[in-house]
Amino acid sequence: MIKLQNLRKSYTTGNQKLEVLKGLSCHVKEGEIVAIMGSSGSGKSTLLNILGLLDGFDSGEYILAGESMSGLGERAAAKYRSKFLGFVFQSFNLIGFKTAIENVALPLYYQKVSRKERTATAMEYLKKVGLEDWALHLPNQMSGGQKQRVAIARALVAKPKVILADEPTGALDSKTSREVMTLLREINKEGITMIIVTHEHDIAALCDRTILLSDGLIV
């Protein structure tokens, strides 16, 4: 599903050029659930951003679902993003003034799906994460675990091939973390590839394998 070959990425701050990814290569098969671990500064956030088509890279290859992601313009990136990828963030990133169901429906809105269809599909996915009773609640009326589940529903609603999760349990207590991970594994069993960036070993242990990142390279 995902193939990275000799990926390089540098950031320029002022006159300093910082090379974050130094020729990274890796391969993730379809249906795998993979953890990416590394200390701060290892480049894992950068890697996740590149995988998520939220940022470009300087050189190397990134093949997603058989298509090359090199040199994509903003529009093309947005298109592929909504077609193939779903995101789950550490701080949930739900839109505060929208209800749960509106949040879940948002990706569909940007795919120009009609209102009726959007709402129906969103409800379906809210059911899948067990939150159909909370459809009309606002994010600030929900607990951390519930918000993350809404975010997961949102990530799933456009039927992505890959879900990228950046420390999905980082803001949750251990019990809720386990619940969320269970949910993610269930989703993974339905065939959706998952990449989870984490610094917690217990979370990594629940994945098929772990990719260790250090100083911009896989070790």
Binding site: S45, N49, G52, L54, D55, E74, R75, A78, K79, R81, S82, F87, F89, Q90, S91, N93, I95, G96, F97, K98, L106, P107, Y109, Y110, Q111, R115, R154, A158, D166, E167
Partner: protein, 411 residues
């Protein structure tokens, strides 16, 4: 573009910061309000002055004489110029057509008596044409006729003040009025709603007034002559007046540059001068109004910039979820537009309401009927829309350039 979702979005953003939105909207509303009210007041001023001029027939030339300023051909300065009958006749001959005219004799105050009551009132001896030239509205009886002048009859037409003060509001037509010991029959009454001075006037036939109230030396003196120019266009009137004036000055041996010996005033020019003043006032009003609106627009742009900054994360999330740049721009500009139109309309409504409220309370000679020209209202709204879009552009561009990467960084 403005579908239900959009409105929900806008409503939400407004509700998040109600006070801030309200204050920004207020500055816009205030700008529009000021523009509308000032425009209405300016209009009222124009109307008032126009109605004053409607009082005096516009197309006329007023010939007057006074004292010379400059010495000329052996004559000293400060010499008194007197127009005489033969001057007037010669002047009429100089003109192509004389449609309406009136000679005038004026005496500032004469004792007028009716039934043991005696009050001083001004008097004018005139020709019948005076009614049209002064735009006198009769309220009873008739005006001075040609026959009155030809036969030197002792008749009078009196103004409203005379009726009030001397006659205690009784109808004077048909009664005898004693003017400086001479009996006159009142044949008509008039009322001039615009001039209190005019209403104190008693009009007599020119010939009668001349004969009775002028001594032998000044028996043929004419104080003033008014000539109607009818439908003659203004440039022609100006030319005619100029050439007539120089002819008359020659005749009475007055220096061509002398501004006081002989004067010929053209009502048209006065009117035109007023028109120019009004145009100036209107430009001024528009200038201020637009500048106020501009200030409001800057305020809106500022607030939008802040709002964009605050919503950086949200915009980043939206972009990550597939939002196009166009939709982000739309998000910002729609809010700006909605804000401007709503607050602008509010300002407009309040401004119009205020003018309507105040309008009947104002009753002044030079101020009538302040009103909003609906074209002005539409223009103001069009400007607002334009400004609203422009205010949104800067912040919108900034919003578009937000990179999801940076926006979503959790550090």
């Amino acid at each position: 573009m403005f579908n239900r979702d959009t409105w929900l979005e806008i409503a939400n953003t407004v509700m998040t910061h109600p006070m801030r939105t309200f204050l920004t909207g207020l500055s816009i509303a205030l700008g529009v309000f000021i523009l509308v009210v000032m425009q209405g007041l300016g209009f009222g001023l124009q109307n008032g002055v126009k109605s004053q001029f409607a009082d005096d027939a516009v197309n006329s030339v007023w010939v007057d004489s006074g004292r010379t300023q400059l010495s000329y051909r052996g004559n000293k300065a400060n010499r008194r110029i007197k127009m005489r009958e033969n001057d007037v006749e010669a002047m009429f001959q100089q003109m192509d057509t004389v449609e309406v005219f009136s000679r005038r004799i004026r005496i500032w105050g004469l004792p007028m008596e009716y039934r043991d009551k005696q009050i001083y009132f001004p008097m004018r001896g005139v020709d019948p044409g005076h009614q049209e030239l002064e735009n006198t509205t009769l309220t009873g009886g008739r005006y001075i006729s040609q026959r009155d002048v030809d036969e030197e009859r002792k008749v009078a037409v009196v103004g409203n003040n005379i009726i009030e003060d001397l006659y205690d509001n009784a109808d004077p037509v048909g009664t005898y009025l004693m003017i400086q010991g001479v009996q006159f029959m009142v044949v008509g009454t008039f009322n001039d709603p615009a001039s209190r001075w005019e209403n104190k006037m008693a009009y007599l036939p020119f010939s009668t007034a001349q004969k009775i109230f002028r001594n032998k030396n000044s028996g043929d003196v004419v104080d003033q002559v008014i000539v109607g120019t009818g439908s003659m266009p203004i440039p022609e009137t100006t030319n005619m007046t100029a050439s007539l004036l120089s002819w008359f000055k020659e005749r009475k041996v007055v220096h061509p540059d002398d501004a006081r010996g002989i004067t010929m005033e053209n009502n048209n020019e006065e009117y035109e001068r007023f028109q120019n003043i009004f145009m100036g006032i209107e430009l001024f009003i528009w200038g201020i109004g637009l500048l106020t609106l501009l200030a409001g627009a800057v305020g809106v742009a500022n607030i939008l910039a802040i709002a964009v900054k605050e919503r950086t994360k949200e915009i980043g999330v939206r972009k990550a979820l597939g939002a196009s740049s166009a939709s982000v721009v739309a998000l910002v500009v729609q809010e700006s537009l909605a804000l401007m139109i709503v607050s602008g309309s509010a300002g407009l409504v309040v401004g119009v309401w205020l003018l309507e409220l105040v309008s009947p309370m104002i009753d002044h000679e030079y101020f009538k009927n302040p009103q909003v020209d609906y074209r002005i209202a539409l223009v103001a709204l069009a400007i607002l829309t334009l400004v609203g879009v422009l205010s949104g552009v800067g912040p919108a561009i900034r919003a578009v350039s937000i990179r999801p990467v940076e926006a979503l960084r959790d550090e």
